[in-house]
């Protein structure tokens, strides 16, 4: 893929990330517990991480963090960045240890749990130390939401990777 196409492709993925996170904030939250979210935007971040490259995934996450920072304020932006960074780091870490012995589903779940833990750490530093109370709930939520986003990623893979295949032909 040439440079122009790559930039366009990354812009498209970033747009997708942002649209998904806006879409998600429009959905009624189905639990009373703050922080239990689907994490639809993680689908795109994971796709980027698995099939395009690590530095692109980081770039995407930072860009998304900046977008949240501008639209929803500093606290939300920092939370988004901390969650996203820890999520990517954990996935990279697990993948480099287990290589092809770890399944995408487990990677997705680990990423979702890491995302939640990253946010809890940020919340407890910035707002109140009491946030750890939610840790067990957010681990279980990470398992459920990570499975859902993992399955969605598998389903959407042909569509998302179409431009990549097209370019390599």
């Amino acid at each position: 893929m040439n440079r122009t196409k790559y930039i366009t492709y990354m812009a498209m993925l970033l747009t997708l990330t942002i649209v998904l996170s806006i879409f998600e904030s429009m959905l009624p939250s189905f639990t009373a517990i703050p922080g239990v979210k689907l994490g639809l935007a993680n689908i795109v971040v994971m796709f980027t991480l698995f099939f395009i490259g690590r530095k692109y995934a980081f770039a995407l996450n930072i860009a998304k963090g900046i977008f949240v920072l501008i639209t929803r304020g500093a606290v939300a932006g920092i939370l988004s960045l901390c969650g996203g960074m820890l999520s990517i780091l954990v996935i990279i870490f697990l993948h480099s240890i287990f290589k092809e012995r770890i399944s995408y589903l487990l990677l997705s779940i680990s990423g979702a749990i890491a995302h939640n833990i990253g946010q809890i750490m940020a919340v407890s530093v910035m707002l109140n130390a009491y946030a750890y109370m939610y840790l067990p709930v957010l681990i279980v939520s990470g398992v459920v939401m990570g499975s859902i986003t993992g399955i969605l990623l598998k389903t959407l893979l042909p569509v998302l990777s179409y431009p990549l295949k097209e370019a390599n032909r």
Binding site: E100, I102, S103, L105, I109, N128, Y130, M133, P136, I139
Partner: protein, 120 residues
């Protein structure tokens, strides 16, 4: 990274282990969560009223369309004139360190305990 498979049967075991860890954590954390003794109401970060959780009461700050309530050792925002109602939707809180916040009115309802140590 294309070599990975999407799902292996032993993933179920791993998921089981993760959920077990969460359950163990839940019961491990529980004893450390203390019930609060007092509810503090803060305006612009300053305590304007302290309510005892052992006594049922209701309170409305002067000049504001906001009502607080203490009932059965729990405190909550009963009503507020803010547009988003996040404070009211937080519901009852009773654990030390828990907060309900109304940003439009710059009000915070916070549960405080006997000692001021942060829990966990």
């Amino acid at each position: 990274m294309d070599k990975n498979v999407f799902f292996r049967n032993k993933d179920i075991i791993m998921i089981g282990i993760i959920i077990m860890i969460a359950i163990v954590l839940y019961f491990g954390i529980k004893p450390f969560i203390k019930e609060g003794e007092k509810a503090e109401i803060l305006l612009d970060g300053k305590v304007i009223k302290t309510l005892d959780l052992s006594r049922d009461a209701s309170y409305s700050p002067e000049g504001m369309e906001v009502v607080f309530e203490v009932k059965d050792g729990k405190a909550r925002f009963v009503s507020s004139d803010c547009p988003d109602k996040i404070c009211v939707n937080t519901g009852f809180i009773d654990k030390k360190g828990q907060t309900a916040v109304c940003l439009p009115n710059r009000l915070v309802l916070r549960i405080a305990g006997g000692d001021t140590d942060a829990v966990l």
